[in-house]
């Protein structure tokens, strides 16, 4: 296995943990699990962890149909179905009540990254590449716009930090798809 692949496995595992932690932090899970997720995130960005701890309940209620004011009302009402179709077309079923919720989106992204990590470990590089493309497309089409628009409509501090994280994640994904040899430079 070459050096680049090893780096990408490292990034995939870490990203999966990041998104999963954010998902756990805003979910209704046993408290000790939620706290361990928040604790983990504090190692990445202290303010993110603090705001998540405060704002988890409101973050949990965020849905694209309510916040995507960049779309016309008709399009907004069709978002839940459209996003569900997106999951399905990618080969997945998301067992969340509201497919257009932030929670559902975070769970989906976590799973995609987790599967990408598995594929990389097993040498299925084409599969991994495909999964990163789906991630990038989904983040650009649904996750980032939800966070951007919701930020305009709410005073949730978490969203501001999340937007930064996602921007960085998008840059990483682009680099990994277009010029993976340069991933090493991220660590220098």
């Amino acid at each position: 296995m070459d050096h680049v692949s090893r780096r990408m496995i490292h990034m995939a595992r870490a990203r999966a943990l990041m998104y999963t932690s954010i998902y756990i932090a805003i979910s209704e899970v046993p408290e000790h699990i939620r706290l361990s997720a928040i604790d983990l995130l504090s190692n990445m960005h202290k303010e993110l962890a603090e705001s998540l701890a405060r704002e988890a309940g409101r973050m949990r209620d965020l849905k694209a149909r309510n916040h995507r004011r960049d779309l016309d009302p008709v399009a907004r009402t069709m978002l839940p179905k459209a996003i569900e179709m997106c999951y399905s077309n990618s080969g997945y079923v998301v067992e969340e009540d509201n497919p257009d919720s932030l929670k559902a989106m975070l769970a989906f992204i976590s799973k995609l990254i987790e599967d990408e990590a598995k594929a990389l470990v097993e040498g299925r590089y084409r599969e991994a590449y495909k999964l990163r493309k789906i991630q990038l497309r989904f983040i650009n089409t649904h996750l980032k716009p939800l966070i951007e628009e919701a930020r305009k409509n709410t005073d949730l501090k978490t969203l501001e930090i999340l937007e930064d994280i996602i921007d960085n994640d998008i840059e990483y994904l682009k680099l990994s798809l277009v010029d993976p040899d340069k991933i090493d430079e991220l660590f220098n």
Partner: protein, 1156 residues
């Protein structure tokens, strides 16, 4: 709030990755929230974690190819998911993705295992590849069973392993019927003597045996009369009754019949019969039966190739000899199926390659065409059973045109042969007394006959003088004359060659051609090509030639072609089996003798290798002035191996003695013998067969009558573990043996651990070991394996409490011997040890061997055996480096055969190769013998004379797809050849108004069956053929057969009484249910899930098709028991006469493309 730049982002992720253990544990929960829409099944991994490769040996048929098995772990279960050939093996040879070649050769034995595994592949036939369906068979039994109703009722219940062993040893009761079953203890005479207080039971038995031999000496003495014999028997009885009584035993406890002490001890009443045997289940079972003290270790050879074996043994003293497929330039291949006979479908690929490239001309003598379009494979459409006429025609041409090797044939003794550089001689020059009315007719003229010596040396004529054959270097071939014996009588004598010549010249080539059905010009072409290529020409003979009632004479006649050109034991000529290592007794005695086994004597129940004229029965009759003939059943002194017909006829007629118990393994004589349904009457009879135990993977047509079922494993587990020698010609290599070790651990019930901590699974091995331990039999249990004398282990003993403690020592024997021979290096590469310890399940038992032996074993295991190369296998003169097997004399005339008598008629057999038509063993009541029959070599009545209303010959065809009948589970093969039929020649079909698809009725003298017809020119006129491998009716599940009807009313009733359904506990069967679902679906795509879930139900493919066997030929001169060959007692499969008619119904074939 600080922004998150790229650096922070990456650092943060790194921190998360390092510390994320707690959250990582949540990921499986996420799998329930976001799951794949469809289950993703990744492509099979080829290497890496969870993937293992094992080199072992196939058992898709008996060829013993090498295989490489890939095992992948899924859901924690190791699963076999691919089987390919072993590139190290001479049959499978090597092909690489990197290197495309026209001719495959075997990989060099020293090739590193990693390279062999990653870069090289061996060829493998469809059966071998479909072995996956063999192990994953829903009909498999995995726990011990006991019948829960009358025999054959299909009712079974599970019992524990402990209960099985206890009842088999001590006796049991069938609770549902109240029947009492004997235990083996009742017959274990050695144990009885020991338990009664005889310190050395073998001392007692040895003395008893000597006394029996003394009685026989008296019996044979021409100066003694009946009263002398009677007195000797009474003296014997008195002596031994007294000795035994001191310990509380009676003679009846020890001997089968005190009035017939020559029959042996009661141990002989325990009979072992195996069907498919291989190393080391054969050696181990023989060890068991020998340790028990019984002479009855019996095999299925009569259903395999016994006519061929017996013919060879008579001719050359060794049973298995075939042409060299690597270098012969012309081969006469008679009665051998392309795609079946050794070297198997894989090795025979070499034959086809060579013919395609013009290196070899193959004359395919068979009523069925080879169906390969190649100008160098020439079909010779022989009339079944009349091959000797073809051989005689060729012999006539060869002699007429002086195309024989005169120098070789004129050599009369081995010393002279050595001088001339030949490894063997023929006895062509030996003189034979040829006065038909003289009592010595057929015997060699000896020095003692002329009073010129008393060593019994056969005589020859050299330079006009009659001399002992040892005294001259060259003798006359064609000599005939009158000589005066020392007794004053004058007799005619001829050389053996002259007798052969006279037989060949008794008809013209045209007349011979008329008999065998082969055009005379083709015969001449064959003879010319054969002798042009000599000595690099040879014959390959098999069942189709040998398994006729006259089969031995056919084989012998063909082998005269080889004798005439002097091709024995040389490159391009005839070769026997390759050498093998001393796997049985190099340092550990894993053999069946030499560990203190009981003394035994007496004839086997099937009377093979036993002479009627050596029995008390015979001599008592003779001395009483009675005609000793007929014996109750035939005796077969000339056959090298055993007879199915005579096993069951012997049990049924309690001749020569009663049976007590039958233990049968991996066999199915009811189905596989011609008219084998005759055996069912015997199997059902609890009086004649008080105990019947079957060791098997599924419950077949024979085993459904058993009292106990011992679950066994397949060859991919521990079934027939050990080392497989190769059959002739073994691809010509000097030494080769395939090693079989488990690819996966057994799927049968785990029964515990041995005292030394090794896991044990229900199987043949553990069954024998537990009985051996319970009965305290020598050679089992504590110190059961002794060290070999003269080795480092002399005087030491090793425990035998589990299969591993035996088989690891077998491998060690082989490996140590291979090291001594320089085939396995002394310094074993670490990579080989690592490869085996990483991949092979057997490696977990390596503690049984010392480290140095284990390392050597790893070298062999990693390559699937020990193999040498063809290029190193011949000396500079072109002779094989192997030891010459057999007599080293090729018999053109055999005194041994000429002296042997038909034990029904008392008539002597003909002592040389001869054309005789297929016939019964003896005259048939109500059928007059023609005058000619009374004189010549036909012992009974020609079948065509008795059954004139049956104008066709019914044969079967076995090819590369199915393995006789035990392969209806090969579902990947079934997908292309799902059913069978009757193949009828185009002209015959036209005459009968039959088209492909018509359902026809085939009637034989023993019954009838119905099958769809396929009309093709690929079977000769006058012959109909059934592609083999189908027509089952019992394979744990029972499905009553509706396609055949026995002619005999009793047999019809037996078939009608077959149960409609079986009752078998779910827990006892079907290891397939434990496989991951995707595997079950892939394996059985054509079947409903009821086939492979829970207790399996009838699945169509397991029971479809037909087999001709139930209505094949029986012998009306021998109580309508299945017809056999006269000398060898082989099943005469190909002599069934038949007639065909339309039923008016049509059949719709399952696939449009008919493949067989």
């Amino acid at each position: 709030m600080s922004r998150i730049d790229r650096r922070t982002f990456v650092k943060g992720l790194t921190a998360i990755a390092l510390l994320g253990g707690g959250v990582a544990a949540y990921l499986p929960t996420l799998e329930r929230i976001v799951r794949p829409k469809e289950e993703y099944i990744p492509p099979d991994p080829q290497f890496g974690d969870g993937v293992k490769y094992i080199y072992t040996s196939c058992l898709g048929c008996n060829v013993r190819c090498g295989i490489r098995v890939r095992i992948v772990e899924r859901n924690g279960i190791p699963i076999i998911d691919r089987i390919e050939g072993n590139p190290y093996h001479p049959y499978n040879r090597a092909v690489s993705i990197d290197k495309q070649v026209k001719r495959y050769v075997q990989l060099d034995y020293t090739t590193p295992v990693d390279e062999a595994t990653r870069k090289w592949f061996g060829t493998l036939c469809p059966r071998g590849q479909d072995g996956i369906h063999y192990i994953y068979d829903p009909y498999r039994v995995i726990k011990p069973l006991k019948r829960a109703g009358p025999r054959g009722s299909g009712k079974w219940k599970v019992i524990s392993w402990e209960q099985l062993i206890k009842e088999v040893v001590e006796g049991g009761v069938i609770e549902e019927t109240g029947e009492r079953l004997p235990g083996l203890k009742d017959f274990f005479v050695y144990g009885k003597l020991r338990d009664a207080g005889f310190q050395d039971p073998n001392k007692v038995l040895s003395e008893m045996k000597k006394d029996v031999e003394a009685i026989m000496k008296i019996a044979r003495d021409p100066d003694r009369d009946y009263n002398d014999i009677a007195r000797a028997i009474e003296k014997f009885k008195s002596k031994w009754s007294s000795i035994l009584a001191e310990k509380g035993l009676r003679l009846e406890d020890i001997l089968i019949d005190p009035d017939r002490p020559d029959l042996g001890t009661k141990a002989n009443m325990v009979i072992w019969v195996r069907g498919r045997g291989q190393g080391h289940s054969d050696y181990f079972s023989k060890r068991f039966i020998t340790a028990f003290g019984s002479v009855n270790w019996l095999r299925h050879t009569s259903a395999c190739q016994l006519g061929y074996y017996a013919g060879n043994k008579i001719w050359a003293g060794y049973h298995d000899i075939q042409g060299d497929v690597v270098s012969s330039k012309v081969i006469i291949m008679a009665g051998a199926a392309l795609g079946r006979l050794h070297p198997g479908a894989t090795g025979q690929g070499l034959l086809i390659e060579r013919t395609a490239e013009g290196e070899l001309k193959l004359y395919y003598v068979n009523p069925i065409a080879p169906r390969i379009k190649n100008k160098n494979i020439i079909w010779v459409p022989i009339k079944p059973g009349h091959d000797a006429a073809l051989a005689m025609a060729m012999i006539r041409w060869i002699i007429e045109n002086k195309r024989y090797n005169k120098e070789f044939l004129e050599i009369p003794n081995l010393d002279s042969a050595k001088k001339k550089g030949y490894p063997v001689i023929s006895n062509a020059t030996w003189l034979v007394i040829y006065d038909r009315n003289h009592e010595k007719f057929g015997e060699f003229l000896k020095d003692s006959d002329l009073g010129i010596g008393n060593e019994g040396k056969p005589l020859v004529v050299s330079n006009g003088e009659i001399k002992p054959h040892t005294d001259v270097d060259k003798a006359d071939l064609e000599w005939e004359g009158r000589v005066k014996l020392a007794s004053g009588e004058e007799v005619t004598v001829k050389t053996a060659f002259k007798i052969l010549r006279d037989e060949a010249f008794s008809r013209s080539i045209g007349e011979w051609a008329e008999i065998c059905g082969v055009p005379p010009e083709l015969i001449v072409q064959m003879a010319r090509d054969f002798t042009d290529a000599a000595p690099e020409a040879s014959t390959i003979i098999h069942r189709g030639a040998g398994m006729h009632s006259n089969g031995e004479y056919i084989v012998w006649s063909y082998r005269m072609l080889d004798t005439l050109i002097g091709n024995f034991h040389r490159r391009g000529g005839l070769l026997a089996r390759p050498e093998h290592t001393k796997y049985n007794n190099k340092i550990y005695n894993c053999y069946y003798k030499g560990y203190g086994e009981p003394v035994k004597w007496g004839p086997p129940i099937d009377r093979h290798k036993a002479r009627y004229e050596d029995t008390l029965e015979y001599w008592i009759k003779v001395k009483k002035g009675e005609d000793p003939y007929p014996a109750k059943r035939p005796w077969y002194p000339l056959t090298p191996e055993e007879s199915y017909t005579e096993i069951f006829a012997g049990i049924s007629e309690e001749y020569p003695y009663r049976a007590g118990a039958l233990i049968m393994f991996y066999a199915n004589p009811v189905l596989s013998a011609n008219h084998g349904i005759k055996f069912i009457e015997t199997l059902k009879d609890t009086r004649k067969l008080p105990l019947f135990i079957a060791v098997t993977t599924t419950i077949n047509e024979t085993f459904m009558y058993a009292d106990y079922i011992v679950p066994d494993t397949t060859y991919l587990e521990t079934g027939t573990l050990g080392i497989q020698y190769l059959y002739a010609s073994g691809a010509g290599v000097y030494l080769a043996e395939a090693w079989r070790s488990p690819a996966v651990m057994p799927l049968t019930e785990k029964i515990g651990r041995c005292p030394n901590g090794h896991d044990r699974y229900a199987s043949l091995w553990e069954f024998f070991i537990d009985i051996g331990v319970k009965l305290n039999m020598p050679g089992f249990g504590r110190g059961g394996i002794n060290g070999v004398k003269g080795t480092k282990y002399e005087g030491r003993r090793f425990d035998l409490y589990c299969a591993w403690e035996y088989i690891l020592r077998v491998y060690a024997n082989a490996a140590v011997d291979a090291v001594d021979r320089g085939i396995i290096p002394r310094n074993i590469p670490e990579s080989d040890v690592e490869f085996v310890e990483r991949n092979y399940p057997i490696a977990r038992f390596k503690d049984i061997l010392p480290a140095d032996e284990w390392r050597a074993v790893c070298y062999g295991l990693a390559r699937g055996g020990v193999f040498t190369q063809y290029s190193d296998s011949f000396d500079e003169k072109g002779y094989s480096k192997r030891k010459v097997k057999g007599y080293k004399i090729l018999y053109v005339w055999s005194e041994q055969v000429a002296r042997s008598r038909n034990s029904i008629t008392g008539k002597k057999f003909w002592g040389g190769p001869k054309y005789v038509p297929p016939a019964t063993y003896a005259p048939v009541e109500g059928v007059a013998l023609k005058p000619a029959n009374a004189e010549d070599a036909i012992p009974g009545v020609p079948l065509e004379e008795i059954y004139r209303d049956y104008p066709l010959y019914l044969v079967f065809e076995s090819g590369p797809l199915y393995t006789k009948h035990r392969s209806q589970f090969y579902y990947w093969i079934k997908a292309i050849a799902p059913e069978n039929f009757v193949v009828i020649n185009t002209r015959d079909a036209e005459r009968l108004g039959i088209e492909t698809g018509d359902v026809v009725r085939v009637e034989t003298p023993t019954g009838a069956f119905e099958a769809p017809a396929v009309v093709e020119p690929s079977v000769r006129e006058g012959v109909i053929a059934v592609p083999y491998g189908m027509g089952r009716w019992a394979d744990t599940i029972v499905m009553k057969p509706r396609y055949f009807t026995p002619g005999d009313g009793d047999l019809k009733r037996i078939i009608d009484e077959l149960p409609e359904k079986v009752e078998i506990p779910e827990e006892a069967v079907n290891p397939v249910r434990n496989l991951p679902e995707e595997y079950r679906r892939i394996l059985f795509t054509k079947s409903p899930s009821s086939y492979y879930e829970a207790t399996p139900e009838v699945d169509k493919w397991r029971f479809n098709g037909v087999t001709p066997n139930p209505v094949q030929m029986a012998d009306p001169s021998l109580g309508l028991w299945p017809l056999q060959t006269w000398l060898g007692a082989g099943q005469a499969y190909y002599d069934t006469l038949a007639r065909v008619s339309k039923t008016g119904r049509k059949h719709r074939f399952e696939v449009a493309n008919i493949v067989w």
